[in-house]
């Protein structure tokens, strides 16, 4: 019986081997190869020149993840306290942008943030820019918002926020109400109930939310290209350039990818170890 069932898994194993394991192996081989095919560590040595990009990528991804957490946790928490109709409605609203194409969504932000985009026009109309000029003595005709790190972070938060809200929400909604009653019964006011019961028990959701936001954010290239205007180069852009752009160097690209992957995996392992106790809590 068990053998019969495990035979059904064969196609998936083959699929995984072909499309997950094989590419990783190829990436590793490429990373240690010179352009003529021989073994070299040169790709990793060259990477030192791009330390700035590494730092910027991780910094922006961290900021975006932190903002997603700060916004997403309260949203999930208060959503879970509302009635079922409100919850369904809110869920649709959160998911709605995701039904639209990713590039289209990000392009829309360009028209909003541009120098003569919607936001700047609004600021002009309500006199905010004039006010700012008068107060600081500057002479701006618009606020520069496009092609800044802020715009890139905004793009990340906008695109990845649902991935933070959903896992946290689904953990909080499943919390046993009698645990909260028990805590209140034992003398805990609302703040203490939250700090000592709800927060620790929702940590697994927080951890998977962080993972699901941080990983795509650290490797994105479309967002930084569109909203960063190519001036705020991220790891994703760097890698893309090695494969598609003028700086064609797939060996270097593979090496950068490999290092990024290792850093991300290490981060996740550390974080999961940290949340291990709570992981059991959810299993219950």
């Amino acid at each position: 019986m068990k053998n019969k069932l495990s035979r059904l898994a064969v196609p998936y194993v083959v699929w995984m081997a072909l499309f997950v394991v094989a590419p990783i192996i190829m990436m590793v081989i490429y990373a240690f190869s010179a352009s003529n095919g021989g073994f070299t560590l040169n790709n990793f040595v060259k990477m030192g020149a791009y330390a700035e990009v590494f730092i910027r990528s991780f910094k922006l991804a961290l900021i975006a993840t932190a903002i997603c957490l700060l916004v997403g946790y309260p949203v999930s928490y208060f959503m879970s306290k509302e009635g079922p109709r409100f919850q369904r409605m809110a869920m649709v609203l959160i998911m709605l942008p995701m039904w639209m194409n990713f590039l289209l969504r990000t392009y829309s932000w360009m028209t909003i943030l541009e120098n003569n985009g919607l936001l700047n026009q609004l600021f002009q109309k309500i006199g905010l820019i004039a006010l700012y000029n008068r107060m600081t003595g500057a002479d701006l005709s618009y606020f520069p918002m496009m092609n800044t790190q802020g715009a890139v972070v905004l793009g990340m938060v906008y695109n990845y926020l649902p991935f933070m809200i959903l896992p946290i929400y689904s953990v909080i909604i499943k919390l046993d109400g009698s645990l909260i009653e028990a805590a209140r019964d034992l003398g805990a006011g609302s703040a203490t109930v939250f700090r000592r019961v709800i927060l620790p028990l929702s940590l697994p959701g927080v951890l998977s939310g962080i993972t699901m936001v941080f990983v795509p954010a650290v490797s994105t290239f479309a967002i930084s290209q569109m909203l960063g205007g190519g001036t705020e180069l991220l790891l994703g852009d760097l890698i893309e350039q090695q494969f598609m752009g003028g700086a064609y160097n797939p060996q270097l690209g593979a090496a950068i990818s490999l290092v990024m992957m290792v850093i991300v995996v290490v981060c996740m392992l550390v974080m999961n170890r940290f949340g291990e106790g709570e992981e059991q809590a959810v299993m219950l």
Binding site: A183, D185, L186, A188, L201
Partner: protein, 379 residues
């Protein structure tokens, strides 16, 4: 001992216009073991949750030590609860679960250590401090839940069917354990259960509830021996409940003949419900019987036989150690103190007939006796 601690005054509770508690009046003494007993949906858990502070009554008052506490939130009451499914914190170990209340109350660390250790001893869980909750059996979780509540030294402990999830053997052990803890610590226990045996075994006072109303309050003996109406008589133990007429003090009339009994205080010829416990009935030879009937069913129960006897169309349950074969004609004899007379109530005629025991269930419909005193066995 008998100082009043909690009083429920004219308590009503409605959910969406559905009356769940209907004018509950009850006082609970200090150090008392009081049980709210009733079928599911009778309002016992709602009553408990109001005392615990998780529900605010629609009308009426809850007083604690003479102070009205309707709007006092749970965390400000000197009351702790053992929840039905224990509600232990899965992210904390046994020690931290028990210490939870003390940590919130900012009790000094060495005192927390001392009191938790002491509590672990009381519930016989020494050495389990560092266990995770998921590693405990149901009975152990139960004990942790009790320890977690008691360590705060509450004036009152509320227990919501705490033994419901345990197997029979463990239940019995825990019943004794709970009673011992209650006596040892001198705390008022308010216990909710639908298990009448549990209620009789453990309680000082039993409150029988049904349909959001209190049916009877009394000691376990009172409740069993002097049930107030057919509902209580049927819910607590087994009862044959028949229609009768109280001819005068000490004489009740049914089956067109008069029986000696010890009850009095009814109006002459008042229609009443007559309760006869199955163990108070003797089976005797036909010639010596006050009534004569036919055995329709015999079930061996270990300690006794449950015998169903058809007496003029009404099926009686009789518990006796002597076997009688099915189909035999037997006489039935009841001592005067075996009768218990109750006033008529809304429950009259609903309970106390063992026709569902019988395989000849259908025949009941034909078994008509014209006499107006005839037992109401209509389904």
């Amino acid at each position: 001992m008998s100082k009043e601690l909690i009083r429920l005054h004219d308590l009503c509770m409605a959910f969406d216009d559905e009356l769940v508690l209907d004018h509950i009046n009850l006082y609970i003494n200090d150090s008392e073991f009081l049980t709210l007993l009733g079928p599911s949906g009778c309002g016992k858990t709602t009553t408990l949750r109001i005392i615990g502070g998780f529900l605010v009554p629609t009308s009426g008052d809850v007083t604690f030590d003479g102070v009205r506490i309707n709007d006092v939130p749970p965390h400000k009451r000197q009351i702790n609860t053992v929840f039905q499914k224990y509600a232990l914190f899965p992210h904390l170990n046994v020690f931290e679960n028990i210490a939870f209340g003390l940590r919130i109350a900012k009790v000094p660390k060495d005192e927390i250590d001392r009191r938790v250790t002491e509590m672990l001893q009381v519930v016989s869980l020494k050495g389990f401090e560092n266990r995770q909750i998921s590693q405990l059996s149901g009975g152990q979780q139960q004990r942790v839940a009790i320890a977690r509540a008691l360590v705060n030294r509450p004036k009152v402990l509320l227990l919501d069917e705490p033994l419901g999830a345990l197997d029979l053997r463990l239940r019995k052990d825990m019943q004794n354990e709970l009673k011992r803890i209650q006596q040892q610590m001198g705390i008022t226990f308010i216990y909710v259960t639908h298990d009448q045996e549990e209620a009789l075994t453990m309680s000082d006072t039993v409150v029988v509830m049904d349909k959001g109303r209190i049916q009877q309050i009394g000691t376990p003996e009172d409740i069993y021996n002097e049930p107030k109406n057919a509902f209580v008589a049927d819910f607590i133990g087994e009862s044959n409940i028949l229609n009768g007429t109280m001819v005068r003090d000490g004489v009740v009339r049914m089956y067109r003949r008069e029986f000696q009994c010890v009850d009095k205080g009814f109006a002459p010829n008042e229609p009443v419900d007559v309760v006869i416990r199955p163990e108070d009935i003797d089976i005797v030879p036909v010639t010596e019987g006050q009534l004569v009937g036919t055995v329709t069913n015999v079930t061996f129960k270990g300690m006794q036989y449950d015998i169903i006897v058809d007496l003029g169309g009404f099926k009686w349950l009789i518990q006796t150690t002597d076997h009688s074969p099915v189909g035999a004609q037997v006489g039935v004899k009841i001592d005067p103190d075996g009768f218990h007379i109750m006033k008529k109530s809304e429950y009259s005629g609903l309970f106390g007939d063992y026709s569902s025991y019988s395989e000849e269930y259908e025949e009941l419909a034909d078994a008509t006796l014209a006499d107006e005193e005839e037992s109401g066995d209509e389904e």
